[in-house]
Symmetry: C2
Subunit: 92 residues, 2 copies
DNA sequence: ATTTATTATACCAATTTTGATATAATGTTC
DNA sequence: GAACATTATATCAAAATTGGTATAATAAAT
C-alpha cells in the first residue's frame, strides 16, 4: 500500500522546525527527504523497496534517516524507485 | 600552479572515444569529470586539494578516476574546491 | 483494544572505502 | 636530458558502511 501523505507531512513539519533551531538546512536531511519523496512517489513501502534493492528494510530506514551512504548504494536506491542519481557540484 | 588546459582537454578527448566504444556515458566517469573540472576551476593540483581535504594525493587521484566514493568524502571534496554537492533523483 | 503494517534503532559480522605509503608514469620547466 | 611537478596505480591497515537479525515504536486497519 502507498505511504499515507500525512505521515510524510508530519515528517516534513518536524524537519523545518528542527532545522530552524540550527539556522540552516542540513544536507543529510535534504537527501533523506529526497529519498522518502521518491519512494512515496513510487508507491512503495520500505520493505518493498528493500526487496527491489536486494537488501533489508532496516537498511532502507537507515538511508532515509540521514546516514551518509556510498554512491553505489544511492544508485541502487534510485534504480529501485525507477530513477537515476544526478550529482552536481554547485557554487557554495 | 594551475592545471594546464590541454592536459584536461586530452583527458576529455580520451573519455568520449572510450565511452563511444561502449555506446553510453558511464555515470562514474561523469562524476570523475565533474570533480576534475571543479578542481581545475579552483586552480588546485591534486596534492594541494588533498591537503585542503585532510587526506593524501593518491586518494584524490582515486576519486577522479571513477571509483565510487561515499557522500561524506564527496562533500569534503566539494568544500575543498569551494563548492557544494547537489544531489537529485531524476527521472531515469 | 487487538492485530497488522510500517518505520526506527541497536548490534555485530562482512564488505567496502578511506588513508597512507611506495612507486611508476606522464608532463613541464630549465 | 635532467630535475621537478603532477597524476596514476598497487597494496594494506584502519575506518566506515552495508547487510542481516532482533526488536521497539508508531500508525493503520479491523
Amino acid at each position: 500500500m502507498t505511504i499515507p501523505f500525512n505521515e510524510l507531512r508530519k515528517k516534513w513539519r518536524k524537519d523545518p522546525k528542527y532545522l530552524k533551531a540550527y539556522g540552516e538546512l542540513e544536507p543529510e536531511f535534504e537527501l533523506a527527504r529526497e529519498l522518502i519523496m521518491a519512494r512515496a512517489k513510487a508507491g512503495l513501502s520500505q520493505k518493498e523497496l528493500a526487496r527491489k534493492m536486494g537488501t533489508s528494510q532496516p537498511t532502507v530506514a537507515r538511508l532515509e534517516s540521514g546516514h551518509k551512504p556510498s554512491l553505489k548504494t544511492l544508485e541502487r536506491y534510485a534504480e529501485a524507485v525507477g530513477m537515476k542519481v544526478d550529482i552536481r557540484l554547485v557554487a557554495g
